[in-house]
Symmetry: C2
Subunit: 326 residues, 2 copies
């Protein structure tokens, strides 16, 4: 196994910045490679992660002049992020952010990093929902919280002024929120941005195999990803669209607003991303796709020093100009 | 080498049809794996290919009721394809098709397969340009012929009624035609469809490495692709945008009409596709991207028995409805 993995260490292409090249060629994290023995083992790991990542997020918010405040939406804890400069064009708009972390990581302020960079770079006001997670709160706690918070937001802000946005598990939850809204007949947001979504929690998808050990972030389905499936989904049907949105009914997907999907060529979730994109296209939804050169899972979104990260938020901003601001 | 290649034989995902699964798991062709020793060795191979592929194309056209007629455009030989049923909505529209084949394969009717399926499935009238190829006619004969034919077409059909379309080398030539039109101040077509374009003839692009031996069509840059580079580009600068359109100036790309790019997750040219897409997005052009699950280079476009191929032409048709027919 170690031998096979080593054969898949590719150099970074010369077209990447030195900062991103360092990420692309970094050693894969042992936690994601190996996973944990049982769901309860996740708790102390998630607690330690939440502490360090929350500190990093609070520092980052201060550096960019993004105000970070606690709130609740429909009884669900959330963060309000206000950029240093809020333009008049964006003053009545809200981005509803759903953080990633495999339904197990990102408690509290730890989940706000992506929202901070979006607020800082693209100047939007954001609410980031701090939903309950596994193993303490398995399916459907997370998606129930997110949808409850979205419905509470709708009481204050019309849907046409809201975009929903998240990456990885947050990308899947963004799609699931769209499914829930379509099913419930609740107003759809103006746009969805789903970064490299975990759209299939079952091990179905070609790049779970072809990009195994090529992706140096998630590394393999059979490590922490599998642990997260067990902790969150348990014995539930992994083909339930509320767990794996790629299985949503075409009539539901036809109701989606403009949706942007993002991935990278080395991403273990590239298949999760392109399968979802194709299902939306075939449902005649407006669906856009961006795939970044040589990038592993979500490697583009928190690498503050890399120009590729700034460029990523600019491309999200251009999509929002075509949809939320139009 | 053989061992490394064997390790990269992945099963087809269960989501593909049996017909496409057979293609996805087929043994790679020795010609593409090994290439040829010198450019002159291409000539007899290209001749034999042209004979068998032309026969297959003529049979296919007859089966679908597509009329195939020889013509010239600005002195360049071309084929006119007329579908059995031409709707009034499409009667004044023309698709200008540029075939693929590494600038070395696809002489005569051999290059018309993709155009036949487009005419048959989506009901467009098509002209397919039979441009000169290497090794007899190296760069820039091919792109000169295509541009000359396009300009001659403009004398008969307004640019707003023309879409330009091609795959692989034809996908690159489609982009290069856009560059030539922008540089010359010639009217831009209403839309471009560039399937898995050979946008970088230099060995730059992550999936030249990560999808080597994963792609069972092109297999590797270091086989027939490299032979084609030598035969066509010779000592010319591979970073010239007329050879590798991914290096085009942003001001030129900003003039592009709506452009659709298509690739697959196993495609050796996935990086060629997504790099070009990103350059167009950053230039604020309207650029769309589709990446098919588990598909190697252009594996989607001539597999008549696979439902994925029919679906592919339907997605191209939807794009043309948004651009050419709007």
């Amino acid at each position: 196994m170690a031998g096979a993995a080593e054969e898949k260490h590719f150099p970074a292409p010369t077209t990447l910045s030195p900062e991103m090249s360092a990420s692309v060629t970094a050693a894969p994290p042992p936690l994601w490679l190996n996973g944990v023995a049982k769901p309860a083992d996740i708790t102390p790991i998630a607690k330690a992660y939440a502490e360090s990542a929350a500190k990093a997020a609070i520092d980052m918010a201060a550096r960019y002049g993004v105000k970070l405040e606690e709130t609740t939406l429909g009884g669900v804890p959330a963060w309000v992020l206000t950029p240093a400069n809020l333009s008049s064009e964006k003053a009545d708009k809200i981005i509803f952010h759903i953080h990633g972390g495999g339904y197990i990581l990102g408690h509290g302020a730890a989940g706000t990093g992506e929202a901070i960079l979006m607020a800082a770079h693209e100047g939007y006001k954001i609410v980031s929902v701090d939903y309950r997670m596994a193993p303490e709160h398995p399916y459907p706690a997370a998606i129930d919280d997110a949808f409850k918070a979205y419905r509470a937001l709708l009481e204050k802000v019309p849907a046409k002024n809201i975009a929903v946005f998240g990456t990885s598990t947050g990308g899947a939850m963004t799609l699931i929120l769209g499914i829930q809204a379509a099913e419930a007949g609740v107003d759809m947001p103006a746009a969805l941005i789903s970064g490299t979504p975990w759209s299939d929690m079952d091990k179905v998808g070609d790049t779970y195999y072809t990009n195994e050990h090529v992706d140096n972030i998630l590394v393999t389905y059979d490590g922490l990803i599998k642990s997260a499936v067990e902790a969150y989904a348990g014995k539930n049907d992994l083909r339930d669209p509320h767990i794996s949105p790629v299985y949503a009914d075409e009539k539901i997907l036809a109701k989606f607003p403009p949706t942007l999907l993002v991935s990278g060529t080395r991403d273990l979730f590239l298949s999760n991303t392109v399968r979802m994109h194709e299902r939306l296209l075939l449902a005649d939804a407006h669906a856009e796709l961006i795939v970044y050169e040589a990038i592993s899972h979500a490697q583009y979104y928190l690498n503050e020093k890399a120009p590729e990260t700034r460029k990523h938020y600019r491309l999200l901003g251009k999509f929002l100009e075509r949809t939320l601001l139009k």
